[in-house]
């Protein structure tokens, strides 16, 4: 049997513990009030620093100066816009006149072009000559262009016929890009 059990209250010990607890509570209360106050004050000061009137003044000054050059700014905007769009067009447009020139350069002098049609997909050439050599030379020239992938990428000989009425050879060719 344990004889050390004390059924009486330790009043002094308990009250000192309670005092400590109350002290701690008071401390927390004061600290929390002060913390809220300090944080609030800090935020207020920061807001004052951030919303400094010098920024607004600076903006107003710059706007005033810029407005004097409003006309130039608009012109420069239009200029940049036009340049951008023109560049896009020039890059995208197919240069059919150049295609036609390159192909016509390859026509031998004794071959005559009857029909010549170029669009964005193909070229149709119909010509005639008294000489088969001229037609052969023309076909060879075009075949070289296809081989070198210069302007055209394919060549189809549609027909090669003898026109007895005119006593000429007629050739019809189709090329693709």
């Amino acid at each position: 049997m344990n004889t050390d059990i004390n059924l009486l209250l330790h009043t002094d010990e308990e009250s000192s513990e309670e005092k400590k607890r109350i002290k701690l509570f008071n401390l927390i209360a004061i600290a929390s009030l002060m913390a809220v106050g300090l944080i609030s004050l800090g935020i207020f000061i920061l807001a004052q620093i951030i919303n400094s009137p010098s920024v607004k003044k600076d903006q107003e000054n710059t706007l005033r100066l810029t407005s004097q050059f409003q006309g130039r700014q608009t012109k420069l905007f239009v200029l940049n816009n036009r340049v951008e769009n023109i560049s896009k067009i020039l890059e995208a447009r197919r240069d059919l006149p150049k295609v036609a020139s390159n192909l016509l350069e390859k026509v031998p002098s004794d071959l005559f072009i009857e029909d010549f049609e170029v669009n964005d997909k193909s070229v149709i050439i119909v010509g005639y000559s008294k000489s088969l050599f001229a037609i052969g030379e023309f076909i060879n020239n075009l075949t070289d262009m296809v081989r070198k992938e210069e302007v055209i990428r394919s060549l189809i000989l549609n027909s090669l016929a003898l026109d007895l009425g005119r006593n000429v050879y007629q050739v019809s060719l189709t090329s693709g890009f």
């Binding site: 036009r82 340049v83 067009i89």
Partner: protein, 235 residues
């Protein structure tokens, strides 16, 4: 009943009396918490928003100052002449006079005979969407001008204003046809923003302007006295 209330009040008073020293700190902590959530947090959020706004304003000011530098150093005279060239090259609307000048000028330079032609204007009320390049189509018959003449004509017209694209070249023995598309591009005002940083005219842009300058001037060209063009709202 009253007795019960009295007993409760008594016990409440007893509890309060016993814990009266805790009342102030607990109340203070609660008030602090309420102040923190009701005022400090919204204040902090407002501060963050204000900071963002100030940053944005600073960036705007910086851009405007940079713009100001660019604008003050620009020669307005040369800007006007460059703009004139570019507007002739790519008009903001259907420039029929410019197109006719271009056609007649190319025909005169290359000595080809133009047949009757018509504009394929289309729906005049149709709105033009964003990135498209609208065109005015023109089918141009050329008579008795030979392969070299027609070829020279298309080469010349592709280097005149307004900028055009040759869609079809059809050369025959007697008559030939050239289909042309003349570009225009309306200016999108919504793209204009005063706060966007503008850049000075770059070397690349200058090269393009110089290239366009070489395209030649057709503005002084006068069209023939006898009308050869008819317009119709086709397509």
């Amino acid at each position: 009943m009253n007795e019960k209330i009295n007993t409760d009040l008594k016990s409440l008073k007893f509890i309060l009396n016993k814990n009266r020293l805790y009342v102030f700190p607990i109340a203070a902590i609660l008030i602090s918490a309420i102040l923190f959530f009701q005022f400090v947090i919204p204040q902090f959020k407002a501060l963050l928003i204000a900071e963002k706004e100030v940053k944005a304003t600073s960036l705007r000011i910086e851009a405007q100052k940079a713009n100001l530098d660019v604008l003050t150093n620009i020669n307005e005279g040369s800007l006007d002449s460059q703009l004139e060239i570019l507007n002739s090259a790519l008009p903001s609307s259907k420039d029929f006079i410019g197109i006719l000048n271009s056609v007649y000028s190319a025909a005169q330079k290359t000595g080809v005979n133009l047949g009757s032609f018509s504009f394929k204007v289309g729906d005049l009320s149709e709105s033009i969407s964003g990135n498209d390049f609208p065109v005015v189509k023109l089918s141009m018959p050329i008579v008795n001008s030979g392969i070299a003449g027609v070829n020279s004509f298309v080469e010349t017209i592709s280097k005149t204003f307004p900028i055009s694209e040759v869609e079809l070249i059809k050369i025959g023995n007697v008559s030939s046809v050239v289909n042309l598309s003349f570009y225009y591009k309306p200016l999108n005002i919504s793209d204009y923003n005063q706060d966007i940083r503008i850049s000075p005219i770059s070397q690349k842009e200058l090269m393009l302007i110089n290239q366009l300058e070489e395209f030649g001037d057709t503005s002084s060209f006068s069209e023939p006295s006898t009308p050869v063009a008819t317009s119709s709202a086709a397509q």
